[in-house]
């Protein structure tokens, strides 16, 4: 539709939550506008501009560092926003907030992992697994998740496409996990939002990695799958380069009238009136918008009468261990490399006090075309290094394991003292790694070493972190029945504002070990139903 001055629903953000919401609400007939602060990437962006791996410029970009940490390569990509445009100023040494300012948001670089939270994971939520289960199913069908039915209580099954076949490296890891003899340890085919059907334009072409963007759109993202179904509807508009600055209302009112945003191409400030506002901008950007919407009646920000906005920021503590498996030395590849991480690993770690905790992760085996392994070959002279590199080329395996975050009030997003290049105040992050997270990372690393050793590991390179590099940000606008415990209710409606909803990682009150993206999507699917109902009720009243 032409650029509207008003709409039924404005959705801020086009990532995991915003994309599903836009599709469902536009299909329902409501007049919907999606506001996205970035632009649309060129259709060939991941094919020719910034293709994955070493295809272009040997995989070297402006920010590649020398020598580099092999585990840092995921975090160097030109799409990641810097401190001049991001939610934070990205101060050195602080919490590392990763953000992509473009249509699809972080899903441009999404690994595609799509797992359901288990019923136990919903402890601390104001609703149960059963409430969300049908929405998980609906979303899995919409985005095409591959995987296998495993009947594991800790990882509910879904509606799956067939996964890609396991490779020799995967089979070594599966055997190693089985050899542990632990009933709680599992290595199963990964569950990813990837089109594994053969013969379509968006079929997976097996690049061996997904986190650098998919050249063919085989990994789900809004612009590749759902946007084409609604983009030409007369009741839908995607407005790019539209950076929402604040929410608008009459002072003290419980109803918003709309949003104010900046056209980032010319700096012009604009207003869009809306009956319903949904913030799906991410667990740091959404609190930023709420803080920046402060007025005389709510000087700490909107939806923040109880001081809950920004509290309990969480990200998954993680360990990453890489090695070369000597049983694969000298092997040539005669198999489908697939999408890199073909296995999910599940287990439980044991803490010094005897308690146990669950964790989840992946076994990754991709093409070593970008030679991150060189750091491990440093002691060898060039002629030996070359022979070793050839012999070991198809032997590299990385395990990445994640455990649950902790909802600690002192880990929080708060109004900042800096502003971005558009003059919009940024937020700051207070975050320290809880002692328990260190203990859990120790336990996960120990388990991973046991698995890798059994799989014929050689030298193991290990890193750990819990300061933003999990890129699973949660908790800052938590859902809770009690307004003193969270920002939104069980329906994701703000406790303080009657026509404001939030649907991003921030609403997840307690981040389990599992990747949160599918849950954000399922929440968005559920929320779309509630918004359609609310709009219909409003229409009925006004009629």
């Amino acid at each position: 539709m032409a650029e509207a001055m008003s709409c039924d629903v404005v959705i801020v953000g086009t990532g995991a939550g915003g994309g599903i919401l836009a599709h469902e609400l536009a299909k329902s007939g409501l007049r919907v506008v999606s506001l996205e602060q970035g632009g649309m990437l060129a259709p060939d962006y991941f094919r020719t501009e910034v293709p994955p791996g070493a295809t272009k410029d040997f995989g070297i970009g402006p920010d590649t560092t020398w020598p580099s940490d092999p585990h840092d390569s995921l975090f160097v990509h030109p799409l990641f926003a810097d401190g001049t445009v991001g939610s934070t100023s990205r101060p050195a040494g602080g919490f590392r907030h990763f953000q992509v300012l473009a249509v699809d948001g972080l899903q441009n670089l999404w690994n595609g992992v799509s797992v359901r939270f288990s019923p136990k994971d919903f402890r601390g939520f104001p609703f149960s697994y059963g409430t969300l289960a049908p929405h998980y199913s609906a979303v899995e069908r919409m985005i095409s998740v591959c995987g296998t039915v495993e009947n594991l209580a800790e990882l509910p099954d879904g509606d799956f496409l067939p996964p890609k076949p396991l490779r020799p490296a995967d089979r070594l890891v599966v055997s190693a996990v089985e050899a542990l003899g632990e009933p709680h340890s599992h290595a199963i085919p990964n569950r990813k939002a990837i089109n594994t059907r053969a013969g379509t334009a968006a079929s997976c072409i097996s690049t061996g990695m997904c986190t650098s963007g998919c050249p063919v759109g085989a990994v789900y993202k809004f612009s590749a799958r759902l946007l084409p179904e609604i983009v030409n509807l007369p009741n839908y508009e995607l407005r790019t380069h539209a950076k929402v600055v604040r929410l608008l209302r009459q002072p003290g009112a419980r109803q918003l009238s709309g949003v104010e945003y900046i056209d980032t191409r010319n700096g012009e400030r604009k207003v869009l009136d809306a009956r319903i506002v949904v913030l799906a901008a991410g667990a740091l950007e959404t609190p930023r918008i709420l803080f920046n919407s402060a007025d005389e009646a709510d000087p700490r920000g909107l939806a923040n009468r109880h001081g809950q906005v920004g509290l309990k920021l969480q990200d998954n503590p993680k360990v990453v261990l890489s090695t070369s498996l000597w049983k694969l030395w000298g092997k040539r590849r005669d198999y489908d490399i697939g999408y890199g991480d073909l296995l999910i690993l599940l287990s439980q770690g044991r803490l010094p006090d005897g308690t146990s905790f669950p964790f989840i992760g992946h076994a990754i085996h991709g093409l070593a075309d970008v030679p991150h392994y060189l750091a491990g070959l440093k002691p060898f002279p060039p002629f030996v290094k070359e022979r070793l590199a050839q012999m070991m080329f198809h032997s590299y395996v990385t395990l990445g394991l994640f455990c649950a975050g902790e909802p600690t009030p002192s880990n929080r997003v708060l109004p900042g003292r800096t502003a971005d290049r558009y003059g919009v105040p940024q937020v700051e992050v207070d975050f320290s790694i809880p002692d328990s997270a260190h203990a859990k990372m120790d336990a996960m690393a120990l388990w991973a070493r046991r698995v890798l050793r059994r799989a014929s590991a050689t030298s193991i390179y290990s890193t750990r972190d819990n300061s933003g590099t999990g890129i699973h940000y949660a908790g800052t606008t938590a859902s809770a029945r009690d307004p003193n415990e969270g920002v939104v209710d069980a329906q994701l409606k703000a406790h303080d504002i009657d026509n404001l909803y939030i649907c991003d990682g921030g609403v997840i009150p307690v981040l389990p070990d599992k990747h949160l993206t599918l849950t954000i999507m399922a929440l968005a699917h559920r929320l779309s139903r509630a918004i359609v109902r609310q709009a219909a009720e409003q229409d009925a009243l006004s009629a």
Partner: protein
Amino acid sequence: MTAMAKAAPSAGSTEMPYDAEDLMRAIIAFGPYRAVLIPLCDEIARIGLGNRQIHAALHTVAERSGFAATGRLRRADLGPEAAPLRAFLEHIRFASPAFLRSVGEWPLGEARG
């Protein structure tokens, strides 16, 4: 020399520009992978100039050695920049078509199924 490889000094610098392709060729000549890398020198210079750290290293080495004036480079002129430059060139060696062909993975960018 190509226009693309003509490296401008950093903002505010009063140093003369230098020929990045010639400088890169001189640096590659010190290393063990020169047979593979010299033919790729144009491309390597372009990529190096596009990388912040390598661009800065090239500029520092050029200043230290007076390369713009003399066109000569001694190993000692590399100084602390030797480590990042060596890592950069080694990366290219092991991501080069020649190496990837030797492990059966060239060309890149095609389906791997």
